[in-house]
């Protein structure tokens, strides 16, 4: 379930968050800090102002010297100090040239720090940064997966727009890498590339589609993250993967789980119908749990229709989603738990949402920040679903040590949860809170009491009495808050409450807080008929203090004056006039305007019988609707629970609305995938407690219920083949099948394109264009290839197209960087398009392309061709003696292996030399050295005496001459250990290119990458002899084919099977009249020195024959 070896303990946590992967470089970057004494020195340099200016240009000289030294420990120390500066936010960009040359350092620690530095400053020093690109390109082909992944990570973190094509290629390559870790890194690189250049979207979507189909749990989480970042609207990409995602969810690393859960929530809201439209019979016992008013209001409208509708049956995929997310509630990661909680909140039938309660309560024990988010969510949920949290009421009791916003949130929840039965407990708690020292908290408590009082009729009077008691509290803010709340409460109450109003009128004398004063005045004005004697007196006092009051108080004084003047004109008319006059000259224009309006209503110009005057009373003394005291969390529902927008109660950038359930479910069959699923027959309502057994059932159970939809795949016997050949070559019509296969070829490609033999018929030529766009030439030359096929004239122009090519190294480096550039020279110009095709060159289209137009080799492309010579003699692998009668012989077919183009295919021939039948010949134990992979031959079930049977074995030698060792087992018991090592010449495949390109390529592969030697054959060979000899030994293609015997230089080209590294062979013949004893020179140019040298050796032996 958890593969302990695969998960580095920290790397996963970074992964999903991280742009730059956390595993290594964050910690080095983050934890870096000058390294003790080092930091001080560099401080000293900058701190003294005198030295600061004078030594400015010499600043960091010591660091530069250290970086230039040959000792790794000095370099490391320098890098530590530099990274320390970077981490402190100090500018270290002037060291860029000195640092960047160390990118080739062999010391892994130095290298990592250089990477960290590079990622930080590449954007500022784009030209110089390009110098390092080739190093990454090379590292991308390293046999070590960690190095490949790291190179890709750093490459994709360099935010320099010119390298977009390189990144695209690197991603395309890595997506089909053997190592899941590299594929995961590729998934991480996608959003980075997308943010750098959104135009790449279309191609990235194809890549994402491939990744989503990946079966490794390590990859899936990151793939979904890329999906969410780049193309969340492409819901169609999810269909086929939906069930797989559900099934593997528990096994994915936790950060990936969060992303996937969120994505599936969005997905489910578009695909399934609302489970609460009609409550099933199973919900009945749960009903009383839920707040009646809520469930009624929500389902009332639909209930009527619901009666007529057929009973709701949950889509089984919907049920699967709920079932497979449930175990994650037990995750230690708060974000995962919250993710599941919101999924249930938004998707589950009402009766099941309460499953998440316990887990959410558990999160309340976590850190303050976690509490804050979870409480916000609970507060929002409790406005709808009281019952869920009812049993946990006490968990929301406030402690004195809680931080103040946590206290407020808890108060909110307690208020939402209070019911007739629990109100007494809640109120007792509130009582203790009022004594708190935290005044904002006390004020919030008073408001909460007010809300309880207005929501629960039983306790209204008790609360009101309590609040009135608070009016005599010593603390003014408490009193003020109580006044405001009482005012609201009185409005909702039909009763008299004369006493309370009178009490409040008395408070005006000493309460200072404006809001409270305003509330009291409003109350007196509104209910002036209940206290006819006091009201005019209050107005008298207010008229005296009018000019010193706050605006809101002044407004209420004016209101009070108007109302009193209408009800009790004898006593108050003069006072009102006086107040109006004061207000007329008030600095507030609002007040002046209002008074002007009121004066015309209360004292109409044409006497009290005017039309306005008649209505004045009705206008001022109209019954006002009571304010509703309700949760401020009521409207948060519009946002997805647990989202940032929900937390801040505002739409955040990039927030995606949660779709409302469709009325009719879209076609569910789109989710039927090739992989059969462990599914049970649909059940009307989920009963998770009874189904516990199969939560995390992985896809290992193969009871297929989908098998009818794609019968062809079941025959292949390999459940992993998403795009197995069976599917695409079956009945479907050709064009879409091709597209499909191309689009989601899985790592070990079994797609059609690999199947197609090199000499594909010309009927394929229509496909050529599209294929090329897909993969051959991601670097940008793809579109060129067609138009520029007219010859070598344009070939010179073509390489100039990719902008940042060669010039940078020469000019920009400056003195110091020259020596580091040595290596660069030996590598083809960074953007030279052709070389970048490499590692999956064989997998995808070029095979087909070359079939269509082999002769007119395009000016700038390297094309795969079929073998020009296929050896026919067999060699012995097992002789009849060691094999106890079984003889096995083999030969290299030089044809692409069907399983993977990186494999050398070996034809085996089994001969039974005994008199008995042999049964069941198959591969037993394999002991393969690093990186080697072996595709077993199909077992031979029966071999008659004397009979011979053929079979094919595939070995990916990883461009090495390591032997693949394995056992051949016969009859179930006898094992014969064999060891198969291919000569270097057999792990190549032939390619062709133009002479011009050959020369350029060769020029780029000089120095260490060139292996040369000469042999002196017995007699002077003719060119055609040499050609034959070379082709027999090495699987390459001869170039410049039809020059006759007077050609003195022969050229051959090929590339290695596994990594697609180019191999160029040049054989120089002595002049025809040189006679015997003249030397033949052989030169092999290859980036991999070992390959080159070994080839040379093989060729020399061959030529001496």
């Amino acid at each position: 379930m958890w593969d302990p070896k695969m998960l580095p303990r920290i790397a996963p946590m970074a992964t999903s968050v991280g742009a730059a992967g956390f595993g290594a470089d964050v910690r080095s970057g983050m934890a870096a800090g000058g390294g003790g004494g080092g930091g001080d020195i560099e401080y000293g340099n900058e701190a003294t102002p005198a030295g600061f200016f004078s030594a400015d240009f010499k600043r960091h000289d010591d660091l530069k010297q250290m970086l230039d030294s040959s000792k790794d420990n000095l370099k490391l120390e320098a890098m530590k100090r530099i990274i320390g500066m970077v981490a402190k936010g100090r500018d270290a960009s002037d060291l860029f040239p000195a640092v960047v040359k160390n990118v080739v350092s062999k010391n892994i620690e130095v290298k990592k720090l250089v990477y960290t530095y590079l990622v930080r400053y590449a954007e500022e020093k784009q030209d110089l940064a390009l110098l390092s690109i080739s190093t990454f390109q090379r590292a991308l082909k390293d046999p070590n997966q960690l190095i490949r992944a790291n190179a890709l990570r750093v490459l994709s973190s360099i935010r320099v727009p010119v390298i977009v094509p390189i990144m695209m290629l690197a991603i395309n390559d890595s997506v089909v890498d053997m190592s899941p870790y590299v594929r995961k890194t590729a998934a991480h690189a996608i959003p980075k590339l997308y943010s750098l250049d959104p135009d790449q979207k279309e191609e990235l979507v194809t890549v994402i589609e491939k990744l989503l189909a990946d079966r490794t749990t390590l990859v899936v989480g990151s793939a979904v993250m890329a999906f969410e970042e780049v193309c969340p609207e492409r819901i169609d990409l999810v269909h086929k993967n939906f069930r797989k995602l559900c099934n593997v969810l528990v096994d994915i690393e936790e950060w990936g789980q969060v992303i996937i859960i969120n994505m599936l929530t969005h997905y489910a809201r578009t695909q399934f119908i609302d489970p609460n439209l009609q409550d099933g019979p199973g919900d009945q016992p749960e009903r009383p749990f839920y707040d009646d008013s809520e469930s009624e209001s929500e389902s009332e409208g639909s209930d009527a229709e619901g009666q007529k509708r057929k009973p709701y049956v949950m889509d089984q995929d919907h049920a699967l989603l709920l079932r497979s997310t449930k175990p994650l509630l037990q995750s230690r990661n708060a974000a995962v738990v919250m993710g599941v909680a919101q999924l249930y909140h938004h998707l589950a039938p009402r009766s099941e949402v309460s499953l998440v309660t316990k887990a959410m309560i558990r999160l309340l024990r976590s850190h303050r920040e976690v509490q804050s988010v979870v409480l916000t969510c609970i507060a929002s949920m409790t406005t709808q679903r009281k019952g869920m949290f009812d049993p946990y009421l006490k968990s929301f009791f406030v402690r004195s040590c809680d931080s103040s916003h946590i206290k407020i949130l808890k108060l909110e929840i307690l208020t939402n949860l209070a019911t007739e039965s629990s109100i007494s407990i809640v109120l007792r708690e509130f009582q203790t809170y009022i004594a708190s020292h935290d005044k904002t908290f006390v004020a919030a408590t008073i408001q909460a009491i007010g809300r309880c009082a207005s929501n629960i009729a039983d306790v209204t009077d008790t609360c009101l009495q309590g609040l009135v008691a608070l009016l005599s509290n010593r603390d003014e803010s408490v009193v003020a808050e109580s006044v405001v709340v009482i005012k609201k409460l009185l409005q909702t109450q039909p009763g008299e409450h004369k006493e309370i109003i009178r009490h409040m009128a008395r408070l005006v004398d000493h309460i200072k807080i404006p809001m409270a004063r305003a509330s009291i005045l409003w109350l007196i004005g509104e209910y002036c008929d209940r206290i006819p004697r006091i009201a005019p007196d209050v107005l008298r006092k207010m008229a005296k203090t009018f000019i010193n009051e706050e605006d809101i108080v002044k407004l209420q004084i004016v209101n009070l004056a108007s109302k009193l003047c209408l009800t009790n004109p004898e006593q108050t008319e003069l006072l009102a006039q006086y107040v109006y006059s004061l207000a007329r000259y008030d600095p507030s224009y609002d007040l002046r305007d209002r008074v002007r309006l009121m004066r015309h209503l209360v004292f109409p110009a044409d006497g009290p019988n005017s039309r306005l005057g008649k209505y004045a009373r009705r206008i001022f003394m109209a019954t006002k609707p009571a304010p509703r005291l309700e949760s401020s969390f009521k409207d948060r529902d519009q946002f997805q629970l647990g989202s940032l927008s929900h937390y801040i109660n505002a739409r955040a950038t990039g927030y995606r609305e949660l779709a409302s359930f469709p009325a009719e479910a879209p076609d569910p069959t789109v989710r039927n995938s090739v992989v059969p699923l462990p599914e049970r027959p649909p059940e009307p309502a989920l009963q998770p407690t009874r189904q516990r057994g199969f939560y995390s059932d992985s896809s290992s159970e193969d009871e297929s219920e989908d098998s009818d939809s794609d019968s062809s795949s079941s025959g292949s016997g390999e459940s992993s083949g998403e795009s197995s050949s069976g599917e695409s070559s079956s009945s479907e019509d050709a064009a879409p099948a091709r597209n499909k296969a191309r689009a989601r070829a899985p790592p070990p490609t079994r797609g059609v394109s690999a199947l197609r033999p090199p000499q594909a018929s010309s009927s394929d030529s229509d496909e050529e264009d599209s294929d090329e766009e897909g993969s051959t030439s991601g670097s940008g030359s793809g579109s060129d290839s067609g138009s520029e096929s007219d010859g070598s004239a344009s070939s010179a122009a073509a390489p100039a197209a990719p902008p940042p090519a060669a010039p940078a190294p020469a000019g920009g480096g400056g003195g110091n960087s020259v020596d580091l550039l040595l290596e660069l020279d030996s590598v083809p110009a960074p953007l030279g398009t052709e070389l970048l095709t490499p590692s999956l060159g064989g997998l995808l289209s070029p095979v087909a392309a070359s079939g269509a137009a082999p002769a007119t080799a395009k000016a700038d492309t390297i094309e795969l061709v079929s073998a020009q010579f296929v050896p026919s003699e067999y060699r012995e692998l097992v002789n009849p003696i060691t094999g106890s009668g079984l003889q096995v012989r083999y030969r290299y077919t030089r044809a692409p292996h069907l399983y993977s183009a990186a494999m050398t295919s070996v034809e085996l021939s089994f001969t039974n030399t005994t008199q008995q039948e042999m049964t069941d010949i198959h591969v037993g134990q394999k002991t393969l050295t690093a990186g080697l992979t072996l595709h077993e031959f199909a077992p031979v079930s029966l071999l008659a005496p004397g009979g011979t049977v053929g079979s094919t074995l595939g070995v990916d030698f990883r461009d090495s001459t390591h032997a693949a060792r394995f056992d051949i087992v016969t009859g179930g018991s006898r094992t014969v250990p064999v060891s198969l090592a291919a000569p270097m010449g057999e792990i190549l495949r032939p390619v062709t290119m133009s002479d011009d390109l050959f020369q350029r390529r060769r020029a780029q592969l000089r120095g260490m990458n060139e292996a040369g030697g000469s042999v002196t054959p017995a007699c002077c060979p003719t060119p055609s002899d040499v050609r034959k000899l070379v082709l027999a030994a090495v699987n390459v293609a001869a170039l410049s084919s039809d020059t006759g015997d007077n050609e003195r230089q022969l050229r051959f080209a090929g590339q290695t099977m596994s990594s697609g590294t180019l191999v160029l062979i040049t054989v120089g013949l002595p002049a025809a009249d040189a006679g015997d004893g003249a030397a033949v020179t052989v030169t092999v140019n290859c980036e991999k020195m070992v390959v080159g040298n070994m080839l040379l050796k093989e060729l020399k032996t061959q030529l001496l024959r």
Binding site: P4, S28, S395, R399, H437, L644, R692
Partner: protein, 364 residues
């Protein structure tokens, strides 16, 4: 996604920054400083701050603020959990998480889940069952609310690839639980046992929760009498601590803390046992009691001097209590046995139980 991370010390210096995408200038932290200056207490800084272009999500741990900058919608918990995990990682590596430690250290290698071919001469597996009692006791001494939060922390040093199984005598006790990712959840669901291949070293295997529904034993009581008198500005304080339900064990490391209201200027108190300190700035009174014996109940009494002129406080301050009881899991959870599969040697196994106060508060 997280764009950048800044680590800020309590002095308000950004001493470390890290950018995952383009570089965001550290001046974005000014918004954070604004919010910080508005809060009375570091813990009152809101975890999410909205600025015109960014969202700042921060956590406060070990006296440091970890402020991350996001530019678009994402689950705040995702970021918060991540930041806490960063701090945990620092603590794992450095043993603590302080500014100077972060500045000094480099960590360059991954810690794998299990290194391949781990080898120890002493193969040992230690398990600590730690239970924390959270409680609110009201002024009359009755329990308003009590629950237990338990953890099983392990230190496993076993060679090879051991597969462990732990069973409990009474697994029904757990109300709610969460597991380290190494635990096979299916087996827990079906058999109520913990089956796992442990990571190498120390980690938290499981946390569990025993909630309000069960009766939780409260091991201590506090008899208190605090009064603030008007007039000449003196108050009185009299506290006695005694054991309640301790299941025959002694309660140790008892510590009482009271945050005095702002009117209290000083405390003149004499303990019958232990040591008392009062910090006039933070107004924190703390009484380190030590061990509580039934025979002689620790007592603290004396007078409090109040600010003259100011009205006395309305209410008495709450008491926060800390204690530990060793050799006891107060809930009664017990490990039944621990079995190892997959390796041949015989490991040394040890289980230790400890109970301590979590958020234990006595209202007065």
């Amino acid at each position: 996604m997280i764009h950048s991370l800044f680590i800020i010390n309590h002095g308000g210096d950004v001493f470390l920054e890290k950018h995952w995408k383009s570089v965001i200038h550290r001046s974005v932290c000014d918004y954070f400083f604004d919010a910080q200056s508005r809060a009375d207490d570091p813990v009152d800084v809101p975890p999410v701050i909205t600025t015109p272009h960014h969202y700042l999500i921060s956590v406060y741990r070990a006296g440091l603020y970890f402020v991350s900058v996001c530019t678009s919608e994402m689950m705040p918990l995702f970021v918060i959990e991540f930041l806490h995990r960063v701090v945990d990682t620092f603590k794992d590596y450095f043993g603590d998480c302080t500014e100077s430690l972060i500045k000094e250290h480099y960590v360059l290698s991954n810690v794998p889940w299990r290194r391949s071919a781990v080898k120890y001469t002493n193969n040992e597996a230690y398990f600590d069952v730690v239970e924390e009692v959270d409680a609110i006791i009201d002024r009359s001494g009755s329990t308003v609310f009590a629950e237990i939060q338990g953890y099983i922390d392990c230190s496993v040093k076993l060679s090879g690839m051991p597969d462990l199984t732990m069973t409990f005598i009474n697994p029904r006790l757990f109300d709610d639980f969460s597991f380290h990712p190494c635990v096979r959840f299916k087996r827990w669901e079906s058999e109520r046992l913990l089956s796992f291949i442990p990571p190498d070293g120390s980690f938290r295997l499981m946390s569990y929760h025993i909630g309000t529904q069960s009766v939780v034993a409260v091991p201590l009581y506090v008899r208190h009498n605090i009064s603030f008198k008007t007039g000449p500005g003196t108050g009185r304080l009299d506290l006695t601590v005694g054991p309640k339900q301790t299941m025959g064990r002694t309660v140790e490391n008892v510590l009482l803390e009271i945050n005095m209201p702002k009117q209290v200027l000083n405390c003149m108190l004499t303990p019958s046992q232990g040591r008392v300190t009062f910090d006039p700035v933070s107004r924190l009174l703390s009484w380190t009691v030590g061990r509580v014996e039934q025979s002689k109940l620790p007592n603290l009494r004396g007078s409090l001097s109040l600010q003259t002129g100011a009205p006395p406080p309305d209410a008495n301050p709450a008491i926060n209590l800390q204690f530990t009881i060793s050799q006891l899991a107060v809930s009664g959870v017990k490990v039944n046995r621990l079995d190892m599969y997959g390796e041949k040697y015989k490991p040394f196994k040890g289980v230790k139980y400890i109970t301590r106060a979590g958020r234990f508060q006595v209202r007065t």
